[in-house]
Symmetry: none
Subunit: 227 residues, 2 copies
């Protein structure tokens, strides 16, 4: 899964903290939602079903611990990772936090680099589960995301990254036509702007390696992978 589709909910009563977290994480490409108290956090969580929730312990009214406990009651959020923000040295809140069902904690003051790598680490766990048995099988192709390789029958193909991503996308739903927009979005990402012929060239390369017949052009729309 692309970062773009990874949702993070930030909960803190201080706007400044929200802002810095927000800035750092969204510039990493995550999709960010925020809430400034426990009640709103729960609403947001139910609405967006985020992958990760970063929760300040110290908040007026409903504190982080309580919010966490309530979040953990929501079945849809059972797979969500919850991590606390605590001031350094507040050991007790860590203890209570784990009891309330948190998976980790992040200590203030927040260092952007540490934050980002911590978040990556936490999400990796989630991704690993997602990816672990996510081999795509399409026709005589087996696409293994974890190993970044493609098997066609007995032979093993190693594709460059973009080609691999493109193939993986198309083959994830054989027969489905992916619009050019959609392909750009999911393989290249929204930020990057590339020229009009770029996709074609990559399709060309795939056709060369995998077989002309596997990739059909739907004029005016996009491409599809057929078995």
């Amino acid at each position: 899964m692309k970062k773009k589709n990874t949702k993070i909910l930030l909960v803190d009563d201080e706007p400044d903290v929200l802002e810095i977290l927000s800035y750092n994480l969204s510039s990493e490409g995550y999709q960010i939602f925020t809430a400034n108290n426990g009640a709103k956090a729960i609403k947001q969580a139910q609405k967006h079903n985020p992958h990760l929730i970063i929760l300040d312990v110290m908040m007026p009214e409903m504190d982080g611990i309580e919010a966490c406990e309530q979040l953990r009651q929501i079945p849809e959020l059972s797979e969500t990772i919850i991590t606390f923000l605590t001031a350094r040295g507040e050991d007790y809140s860590q203890v209570a936090g784990f009891e309330a069902g948190a998976d980790d904690y992040i200590t203030k003051p927040i260092k952007p680099k540490v934050l980002v790598s911590k978040v990556k680490g936490l999400l990796r766990r989630f991704k690993d589960v997602e990816l672990s048995d996510s081999n795509i099988t399409a026709g005589n192709l087996v696409i293994n995301r974890e190993q970044y390789k493609v098997q066609r029958g007995k032979e093993e193909l190693i594709l460059p990254r973009k080609e691999f991503e493109l193939l993986a996308l198309l083959a994830s739903k054989p027969g489905k036509v992916f619009k050019r927009d959609e392909i750009l979005d999911r393989v290249w990402g929204n930020e990057v702007v590339v020229g009009g012929r770029t996709i074609d060239v990559h399709i060309r390369k795939l056709r060369e390696k995998i077989g002309d017949d596997k990739f059909k052009t739907v004029k005016g729309v996009g491409y599809k992978f057929v078995i």
Copy 2:
């Protein structure tokens, strides 16, 4: 043996940590003793002859390593399992810990569930027999984390720490591509920031020692170990 008769000695200088460990383990039915420094730990151990000692590495005065070494001198405690509490990523303390005679380690932050199941596991091992299965076998390599040794066929390789950790990580899932991010995170730890070529250099050394063909580069993604 009934849990009720299983004695556990907890040693940590932070009362909060003692409290949570104590709470979780005693609610599992174990008989708990505590100490807040190395010297007291030794006294307690001699007095109660516990089955398991959980020892924080970082303590003022006598640290966990030293305490462990002294505990290991006591003949009555030869059957006692000693496990360390370490912060995640403190690889070295693990090494030193094993050298000092520890049987295992538990990483902070402590998650109650993990703690309990780990403790159960340790005690089960104690009941059964000594059997270390923390060896990774990949191809003709046997990687022994406990002894920090690598065997290739009959010959025994001693690798420097980082090289060993890197190899152990890659070989833990042969075929899986580990992204550079992930490698940095898991071998170097997420606070440490090292230059961009550091991983490459270590891969180079491994390739020299283990074999060029075992380590494949996936450009733009990372490295994988292949059998």
